[in-house]
Subunit: 219 residues, 4 copies
DNA sequence: AATGAATGAGGCTTCATTCAT
DNA sequence: GATGAATGAAGCCTCATTCAT
């Protein structure tokens, strides 16, 4: 955990260098319209679906002209990737903050799961976008999204590594495989919840998911 | 376990009644060109990506005229759904066959995982299509695909139910959640493997995945 | 009037030589399937509209295979033209028969109008086809249809000529213009009736139409 | 006649509210490209025939990009309907203007016929389009065209009603039937003229047509 | 003569992006 | 910086006709 505490935001540090941004004068990202457009994109995509979310619709929702979008984003793809970066960045930061004062790997994992579910529950539009809509994007975008996702996965790896080293988890744990189980499970539970119109409280599932992951199916 | 043995293939029995098919004279599905076109679609989609797979490309790969496609499929969407039905049907059948003579739930689960990975490994085109390309289809298609997927999930449920009843798994197992873990994990492992260009042997991961699912992370 | 009586069917004499027919052995036209297909076309076009009347639909209604159509008709266009020829031929013959024993031009005109309306009233499918559907065909077909129509117009001309010579009508009548009034009026009344779903009895309008045509609007 | 004089253009007042047009800011209809495209459509349809008039051809003729068409019209159909509305509106307005200072119904009718023929003679492309090409459009379009046509027919009705009341025409005139005679005759004369490649001067026929309609065939 | 499976040309429309104002 | 009118490429599907059986 020391690692983690030593560089609490480190893992995210170059998340802001990915996409479109001209000079280093004033970052586009810090101008109000940048976030305004991203938030508009979340709403529009959640409400209309990925394939019916034209740039013009996002512009209208953001209250700007179509052309203005292109002053802040290279192209439509860039909106989506930036959206994911922006939101995922906050996501990872929040989870890290949550885990900051906990050293037990199992407990950290529970915080991670809870935070994950909580954040989805807090923004139903965003939940739809990340769990369903963004996945219909083409391979290129999904690859770039995966790059952003890597931050999150590294976080999971850290927890697993911790647990293995401290003996909380199996000492010879295949971290890569375990991470795929952890992420795969959380993601599947989240997606199922969104597909079912978020009609139950997903945060209530956190404990059960945590237990399954840690203890497995065995009796 | 008796259930399972009594109707080993039952759950799949009407998988072939889904989409496009006129009378009961000679099923379109049984004509050679039907499979020919589906196989062509798998190759074309795997090689060009979902969004660059024009009907004309599929027709050319299948060695038929564009219009011929429409003698066997209602529209482009129907090709995709039928593709998934056809392949998923074989998929589920194969897994069921594999599990037929095994009564232990944990062993059944291992067979399921192994079979799943084996089938993906056996057809690298199909693996790309199911793990990556088909997911960028629109909501309508995904809904219908989910319907087909349900057969598979029911199969998982049966195994889990078995295990819970026979005491191999936790007797108070939350089947729904457990199924989401099982499927989520398998799917994530498979997707990761495809994203990494299938460059390692996924079947080697089956044992590890099975172990993780059954025993969890605990030491 | 002698003219008229001398060659009672003359005007129709080459109506049967228009379109498709191979040798002079056995006329295609006399084989049962010829009329069978034409009648099928009338029904299909009336019920589905011109643009939704595919050859395959006509074939099915006629109880023959698609290919069989082409043993009796050169192409789809030929079905339509033949349909019009066949029906228009009967039409003109019937009107001629009706007028045969009447010498007064005004009375002849009344018979013509009455017969015209009566025949439309007798076959509601045919009425739809001739008044509405066939008019959406392309210019080529309409030109050929007009050629067939010419027989009918010649008949009108004869009556008008008669009337002018016998002093029943204006002696310096512009036959061409008068014929356009007669046909235009009859056609417009018929079309209006069909557009209104044939929901009143068009034959009741014959007297009024005749009176208007003969006496005009004047008080 | 007072009615007529009091609201001479009234019947047309909402002819411009028919199809595609968003707010009331700046009407699409008033922008130059709107008329530009409609005029292009008239020329293209007249020269190529309805079925060979692709949107791209119209765009090229109008000197705009294909996509620009869709900034002004909902779809291809909307071009045709708007075309008819626009031209028919001018048509009816012109006729009304012409009749404004004439109180005698017979004289009004003569003006109507003359104006009708004159306008067709003034634009040979438009004549082809309205008399021939537009009639092969599908039922939906024809229905909407008929709605626009109704303005014209109401105008005819007014004249006939006038005439009947003032004793110029038969006082017990069946207006509906009379209107069908008037319109049927004018339309047939116009169509015949167009089919014959407009090779004679149709305006010369106005007097004869008027005479026939008012006095009928009687000697 | 009759069949019907196979063919393949052809066009409307959407929407991300640009650029003159 | 902001605008929004204009652009133009790209693809699914229908259906008249053929021809091997």
């Amino acid at each position: 955990m020391h690692q983690e505490k030593d560089k609490p935001t480190g893992a995210l540090k170059d998340l802001n260098s990915g996409s479109y941004m001209k000079g280093d004068e004033t970052l586009k990202k810090d101008k109000p319209k940048y976030k305004q457009i991203i938030d508009a994109a979340v709403v529009v995509i959640a409400e209309n679906g990925y394939h019916h979310s034209q740039v013009s619709k996002i512009a209208k929702q953001a209250g700007v002209a179509d052309g203005t979008i292109y002053l802040y984003f290279k192209n439509k793809e860039d909106i989506l990737i930036s959206l994911f970066e922006e939101k995922m960045g906050q996501f990872v930061s929040a989870i890290k903050r949550g885990m900051e004062h906990e050293e037990d790997a199992a407990a950290q994992l529970e915080i991670l799961i809870k935070s994950h579910f909580q954040m989805l529950a807090d923004d139903r539009h965003l939940a739809i976008v990340t769990q369903l809509e963004l996945r219909q994007s083409n391979k290129d975008i999904r690859l770039k999204i995966n790059k952003v996702l890597k931050e999150y996965l590294l976080l999971v790896d850290e927890v697993l590594h911790n647990g293995a080293q401290s003996g909380v988890f199996q000492t010879d744990l295949d971290i890569r495989l375990a991470r795929q189980m952890v992420f795969g499970t959380i993601d599947e539970v989240a997606t199922t919840w969104v597909i079912n119109d978020q009609k139950y409280d997903i945060t209530n599932l956190a404990a059960g998911v945590h237990s399954l992951i840690v203890r497995g199916l065995s009796s």
